[in-house]
Structure formats: structure tokens, C-alpha cells
């Protein structure tokens, strides 16, 4: 479990997963949000009987279709890569992680794939109401799909509801509800789907702005802006609210990630929230690791303490607290965690030897240790630390986590402003004349995509070196295959996905230029 240290294999396997996940996430948020926008538009059509709304719905549905297939194509790889590239992980946690994936397939994928066919092909084959129901079910199915995979991912950030079984050498689920209602899962699901709604709203807003700039399809554009503006504004507020809740949860369950997000090295009370900052090389060290420090920063005094602990006197631990420990604040030092992890591993090795020698007495006695609450909460929970070589290795890349977090938050506020302004201009019937604003909205289209990817980079890079927080690191999880094989598939994926992305963008642009056909 801890003797797999071919770092180039680990790095390439990580690179491949990152590549496929990033590509997948280019397409999925649009599906999540646009499906609801379509459902709302079609509902208005069915309610009012106004054919223009049908035409509008069908135009956006065409764009939805182009995006939908490629999202599915890139998604299948992720599911199978858990096995192909992270096989040790698959066994170690498959008992918990696999279940949400199976439920996802049974509950969500079939709903989505069955009714998407009716949605695309059923306009003249089924009744209006059946068609509308299908469109809503596609939206529900798509978002349910997101629920289960996010539950699985949340478990990797904060493993709960399981116990380690030495006999099978894996973690086994003992509380399904704890896995589902894990606070990280709740935050993550709400934050992720609302960010998808936001992205899709921005997509509709940007393309509608283009029509207004070109003075084409003005009715369609304005009606689309109305729906996207309201949906986007509400989504932006939800994104901000769930983002705040998410950060607070991270501060509790992944405090090292949290300190990295804020580039907070020394813990303090009355800690300020960095609103804006640049990092530069410095002489500052944590253990033997040289870290970057602020060249410039604008801080809101006391806000970080208030947001995480409820008042400005709350202590926010820094990275040094987590590495060196802080007795006064009851923060355990990483070397102590490493010792405890090694002890847990030692017990497991004893168990393995007892099984080989068929020493029944010893087997029973060690089983007792594994069932002991004190062992589980004070030793086995640090199992992954057994393979940490040096305490500072548990610090993720501070620059990447810091910038991805702060850029994402900054963009979030920009989106809020854009949606509010769009609605303001629309209600004053001035939007078609505000060409400067329409151009800004059009060129803002890539921004929610960037923000969304940054969110995932923060989540995944911020968890390093763990694949499961504190329990297993990435080097122990990787499949023992040839590095060359992974490099080859990485290149194949990169070429194929880039080709498909170019094709998709080109088709999209062509369809948008053509405009609504029906």
C-alpha cells in the first residue's frame, strides 16, 4: 500500500485524470443549467401557446444538443479511469465510492438519456405536455447525475460513514446517510449545480447580446435575456451563499487546504480576509520547504475570523500550526500524525502476518484493536500519514490554490453585477442601445468557464497529496502499469478531445450565426 513510489507514473496518471476531468467540465455545467432554462422557456410556451417561445426553446435546444453528447463522451472515461489508473484506490474505497456511481447510473442516467430522446425527436410525435414533462425530466436527471458523483467526490475530501476492515484491507460503508448528508457533499452539490446554472445563464446572455449587437432576432434575444437574467441573478446569489458555506466547511474538515487558499502561514486571531493579493518568492520556510509570500495584498481586517469562527477573536490556524502543531490551540503536529499513521500500518501488518501463520488468537486480538473507537479516531484516521516522507509534504501547492480560489471569488462578483445590470437595462428597455454593455457581456462568455474550472482545480489540487483526505495519498492509489502506457493514452486523449472541442465550437458558432430555424 505504501511502496508504490514511481512518481512519474503518479504524475502522468494525475495529469491524465486532470485532463479528462477538465475537458469533461467544459461541457457539463452548460448541460446542468441550460436544461432548466429550456424547461422554463418551454413551460412558458405551453402555458401561453405563443409559438415564438417554442421557436426560442428549439433554438437553445439545438445548442444544448451539440454540447450534450460531448459531455457524455468525456464523462464515461472518468468513471472507468478510477479502475484503469487508480486501481488500488478502487479497491481501498470501492465499497463506499462505487455505490453512488451505481445509484447515479440507475437513478439519473437512464432518466436523462430516455427523455432526452423524446425532447429532441418528440416535438411532432408526442403531446405538448408529455414533451414538456420530458424536458423537465432531462433537467432533473442531469442534475441528479451531478448529485451522486459529487457525493462520491465529497467523500474523498471528508471520508465519513465507514470503518476499515483488516480482513479485506479496505474501508467499508457502515452509514449510507452519513455519506449522503456529509456536509461537504451538501455544500459541493449546491455550489456546483448553482455554478452550472450561472454558467448557462451567462451563455444565453452572451449569445443573446450578440444577436442584439447584430440587430437580429431582437424578440428572441430580449426574451432570452429576461429568463437568463433572472435565473442567472438568482444562481449567482446561490453560488455566493453556498461558496461561503463551502469555505467554512473546508476550514473545519480540510484546514490545511483552507490555510493554503488564504496563503495563511501564521495562525492568528482577528485574521483578515485577503480580497486581492499577489504572491512572490520569499525566504520564508515551513520545515525545509520554501514558500511564497505576499508581494502585495488588500485585506479586510478580521473578516476571515468572523467567517470561519463567528467572531473576530476566533483563531484561524496557519500552515505552520498544522505542520509544527500548536499545543495551546490543540492542533496536532504533522510528525505526530505520521507516527500515529505508522502505528496503524504496523497493526495492519501484524494482522497480515497473523493471517499468514493462521494464528487465530492473534487475529482475534488485532480485530479487536481495529474495532476499538480510540484506535479508529486517534490512529487509523491518520493511516495515510504513514507514507508521508516529510511533514511539509502535506502542504498543497499554495500558489495554485490561492490564485484559483481568489480569482473564482472575484469572477463570482463580476457575474452578479452583469446579471443585475442586464436586468436593469432590460426593464428600462435600454438594453439594445447599450452596445458597450452588450460587447462586455459577449466577451465575458469564457469567464464562467474559467471560474468553474478554477473551482475544481482548487478542490483537487488543494487536497494533495491525498486522494482520500488523510487516509490514502495519490502515490499509494495508482495502478501499477507502465508509465509509457499512461503517456500514450494521455496524448491520445489530448489530441482527440482538442479535436472534438474545436469541432464543437465551430459547429456552435455556425448554428448561432444561422439562428433559429423553426
Amino acid at each position: 500500500m505504501i511502496d508504490n513510489f514511481d512518481m512519474s507514473l503518479v504524475d502522468w496518471s494525475r495529469a491524465q485524470f486532470a485532463l479528462t476531468a477538465i475537458y469533461h467540465w467544459i461541457f457539463v455545467p452548460l448541460t446542468l443549467g441550460l436544461s432548466f432554462i429550456l424547461a422554463i422557456m418551454e413551460s412558458i410556451y405551453v402555458k401561453t401557446g405563443n409559438e415564438e417561445w417554442k421557436r426560442i426553446t428549439r433554438f437553445w435546444m439545438t445548442l444544448f444538443g451539440i454540447n450534450f453528447a460531448i459531455g457524455i463522451a468525456t464523462g464515461i472515461i472518468l468513471e472507468f479511469e478510477f479502475g484503469t489508473n487508480w486501481s488500488n484506490y478502487s479497491w481501498f474505497v470501492g465499497d463506499i465510492f462505487g455505490a453512488p456511481l451505481a445509484v447515479e447510473g440507475i437513478l439519473a442516467f437512464f432518466l436523462e438519456s430516455t427523455f432526452v430522446v423524446v425532447m429532441f425527436f418528440g416535438w411532432s410525435k408526442v403531446s405538448k405536455k408529455f414533451h414538456l414533462t420530458s424536458t423537465w425530466l432531462v433537467a432533473v436527471g442531469a442534475n441528479l447525475s451531478a448529485l451522486w458523483i459529487l457525493v462520491a467526490n465529497a467523500w474523498m475530501q471528508h471520508p465519513v460513514g465507514m470503518i476499515f476492515n483488516p480482513e479485506t484491507a479496505r474501508n467499508e460503508m457502515v452509514n449510507f446517510w452519513a455519506v449522503i448528508f456529509n456536509q461537504v457533499a451538501v455544500d459541493k452539490f449546491l455550489h456546483t449545480i448553482s455554478s452550472g446554472f450561472l454558467l448557462a445563464s451567462m451563455f444565453v446572455l452572451s449569445i443573446s447580446s450578440w444577436f442584439l449587437i447584430r440587430k437580429r432576432e431582437q424578440i428572441m434575444a430580449k426574451r432570452s435575456i429576461l429568463i437568463a437574467g433572472i435565473f442567472g441573478l438568482l444562481s449567482s446569489l446561490l453560488v455566493a451563499f453556498t461558496g461561503d458555506s463551502s469555505a467554512r466547511t473546508i476550514s473545519q474538515v480540510q484546514p490545511v487546504k483552507f490555510a493554503s487558499m488564504e496563503a495563511l502561514y501564521e495562525g492568528k486571531t482577528n485574521a483578515g480576509l485577503v480580497a486581492f493579493g499577489f504572491l512572490k518568492d520569499s525566504d520564508k520556510k515551513i520545515g525545509s520547504k520554501t514558500v511564497k509570500d505576499f508581494a502585495i495584498k488588500i485585506e479586510i481586517p478580521g473578516l476571515l475570523s468572523v467567517l470561519t469562527g463567528g467572531d473576530k477573536d476566533a483563531y484561524v490556524p496557519g500552515l505552520k500550526d498544522h505542520i509544527d502543531g500548536n499545543v495551546e490551540r490543540k492542533i496536532m503536529a504533522t510528525p505526530e500524525k505520521m507516527e500515529r499513521g505508522k502505528y496503524a500500518l504496523g497493526v495492519l501488518q501484524l494482522y497480515s502476518r497473523a493471517r499468514m501463520t493462521k494464528d487465530k488468537e492473534q487475529i482475534e486480538s488485532i480485530k479487536g484493536i481495529f474495532n476499538d473507537k480510540d484506535f479508529q479516531t486517534n490512529y487509523f484516521r491518520y493511516f495515510g500519514y504513514a507514507s508521508v516522507l516529510s511533514p511539509e509534504d502535506v502542504i498543497p501547492n499554495v500558489s495554485v490554490t490561492f490564485y484559483s480560489f481568489h480569482l473564482m471569488v472575484m469572477l463570482g462578483f463580476i457575474f452578479l453585477l452583469i446579471f443585475a445590470m442586464a436586468l436593469y437595462f432590460l426593464f428600462r428597455d435600454e438594453i439594445a442601445d447599450k452596445r458597450w454593455f452588450l460587447w462586455i457581456v459577449l466577451f465575458s462568455l469564457p469567464l464562467p468557464y474559467i471560474a468553474s474550472e478554477l473551482g475544481w482545480i482548487l478542490t483537487e489540487v488543494g487536497r494533495q497529496p491525498w486522494i482520500i483526505q488523510d487516509l490514502m495519498n495519490v502515490s499509494g492509489a495508482v495502478s501499477q502499469i507502465k508509465t509509457g502506457s499512461v503517456i500514450t493514452t494521455f496524448i491520445l486523449f489530448a489530441v482527440l478531445f482538442t479535436g472534438l472541442l474545436i469541432s464543437e465550437i465551430s459547429i456552435m458558432i455556425k448554428q448561432i450565426k444561422t439562428g433559429p430555424r423553426h
Binding site: 500500500m1 444538443g65 453528447a69 457524455i72 463522451a73 464515461i76 472515461i77 468513471e79 472507468f80 479502475g83 484503469t84 486501481s87 484506490y89 478502487s90 479497491w91 470501492g94 465499497d95 463506499i96 462505487g98 455505490a99 456511481l101 451505481a102 445509484v103 447515479e104 447510473g105 440507475i106 437513478l107 437512464f110 432518466l111 436523462e112 438519456s113 430516455t114 427523455f115 432526452v116 430522446v117 423524446v118 429532441f120 425527436f121 418528440g122 416535438w123 410525435k125 479485506t168 479496505r170 467499508e172 460503508m173 457502515v174 449510507f176 495502478s479 501499477q480 502499469i481 507502465k482 493514452t489 482527440l496 472534438l500 469541432s503 465551430s506 459547429i507 455556425k510 430555424r517 423553426h518
Partner: protein, 375 residues
Amino acid sequence: MATMISYLFLQHYWWIIVSLLASLLVFLMFVQGGQSLIFSLPENDLQKTMIVNAMGRKWEFTFTTLVTFGGAFFASFPLFYSTSFGGAYWVWMAILFSFIIQAVAYEFRSKPGNVFGKQTFDIFLFLNGSLGPFLIGVAVATFFTGSRFSLNYFNQVHWETQWYGLESLLNIRNLALGFAVLFLARINGLLYLINTIDDEDLVKNSGKKLIINSIPFLLSFLFFVISLVLSSGLTSDSTGTVTSEKLKYLHNFLQMPVVLIIFLAGVVGVLYGIGISVIKKSRNGIWFSGPGTVLAVFSLFLIAGFNNTSFYPSSYNFQSSLFIRNASSSLFTLKTMMYFSFIIPFILAYIWYAWKAINNSKITEEEMNSEEHKY
């Protein structure tokens, strides 16, 4: 009720669910079968469009079933997932690549501005249609023929060849099942076209192709089945020691006569479906070959895993072989997922309803020339 359900029962229950998904997947690969014919069957562009649209309205079902099959296998038998996927890397990657290119091909092929041209996406459809069923057949055949791997105490897999799965292509029995699945998919694809498309010439040509494809199917399928019933399989004794048993799969059929009956019913169903289409020119062959395919594949999965048989044998180290009992998830997980599985009949019901709503009218030339959404 929950406390009365034994671990063994749940392990078998989940093997049945996985087998059911696998058998539905093989049936639904009629989509791939149809795709593999897009260069050889149609006589003009309109016919090709009709074929693509007939298959294109169902591709999501096949894809979703494959994904769900993977998810269910992972959740219920994670040791198989980690062992096979983490070892036979190249076979699974090849299968994945063939499915990635399918998903976009339908949506992109006829759209203006697709950069690579219609022909490229049609080649994607052909590649997925040919390689997908063939490679899945080869991968499933290793459930019977075995692979060279070992597991350590932590159940970490070590693949004992440098080919990481490609070696399975050198086994003639694996190839036979690969070809059998491919030609079965083509047969089901043709029968589906005969049933769905309103074009006399295309239906006539499909009938001719049906005869041509039935011959290699029968040859490869017979070869695989005969070699299967004559071959040894791995079993284990009460102490867990794994041994080889001669004629293990024949024994499985004989010791589980219900499975044998299901298998025979499946084979008869497929043959009847082909027969009435060729001899009586019936357009309902798919109604027999489809369920026949499901039954035959389902029974093959049952003899692979039931009756204390290793469903993923290691020819390198018998003791590393995977059985239903040692590869499954925990009792708690299997039980939790069982509750979710109760929703499956409801899912099948709405799929059936939606399928019927779309298939009520046949695909016609008028529809292909209309403004409706099409591929």
C-alpha cells in the same frame, strides 16, 4: 426483512443484476451493429441517413447501459473493477476510445462547420460499431479463459504480462466470442432496421445482409460454446483453496438446469428471429432475437459466476482468482444498493413508454427531408 438477508444471497443478487445489465447491453449493441453497416448496407445517402437516424435515437440507451454496467460492477464487485481495469489496461482503454468517438459522431456528423467533415464522423460510427462489440466480447471471454495476474495481501493487482490486456487478443476462444458478439450485434442491427424503417429497398438489402452475417455468427458462437463446455474452470473448496475442475462449465449447466433452459431458450429466440426474417420475410424478427440475446448472455454470465465458479480466473496464480464471494462489496453496501435496485422495474417501464412514443411511426423519407431534429 433486512436482517434475514444473507451476505451470500446479496452477492448472488448483485451478480444477477450485473448479468442482467450485461445482457441488456449486448442486446442494445444492435446500435453498434447498425453503425458497422453504414458503409456496406445503404445504396444512397438517404438510406444512410435513415440508418443513422434509426440507430441515433437509441445510442444513448446503449451508452447509459454501458456506464451503469460499469458503475454497478464497481459498486458490487470492486475487486473485479480494480483487478481487470487496472491490469488489462489496453483492452478497456480501446473500448473507451471506441465509445468516446461514438457519442459525438451522431450529433456532429451532419452539422455545418464540424471541421472534420461528415465522412470522419461516419468512420467514427463505423469504428465504434465494429470495435466496440468485438472488444467487449473479447473482454467478457476472459471471464472464462482467464488472465495472467496476481493479487497481494492488500488485493493490489500485478499484471504478469507486459501487454496489459492486449494478450487476450491472442487467444482464439476470446476472438471467437468477440466475433460472435460483433456479428450478433450486426444481426440485431439489421433486424431492428427491418422493423423500423419504411423503405422497401433498404429492408430487402437488410434481409440479404442478414443471411451473410448469420454464417460467421453461427460459426464463431458454436466454436465458443463447444470450447466452453469442454473446458476446465476454477472452483474452490471449503478452505478457500482454488482448484481446476474439468468440464466445469458443462457441470454448471447440468447442475443448474434452469440456467441451461434459459440459455437454450435464448439461442432458439435468436435463431427464430433470424429464421422468420429470412424465410417468411417477417419484419418482427427483432422481437425474438432481442429477448433471445438477453436470455443467452444472461445465462452465460450466470454460469461464469454461480455454482462456486471463478468469474475472473487467474491463470498465473489460481489463488488470486476472483469469485462472487471474495470480490464483492460488504454486506451493508450490497444491502443498501439493493433497495435502490428495486426501482429498476419502474425505470424499465418508463423506458418502454418513451421508446414506444418515439417508435410509434416508422422512419420515412419525408421525415428525413423535414426540418425536424435529425442526425
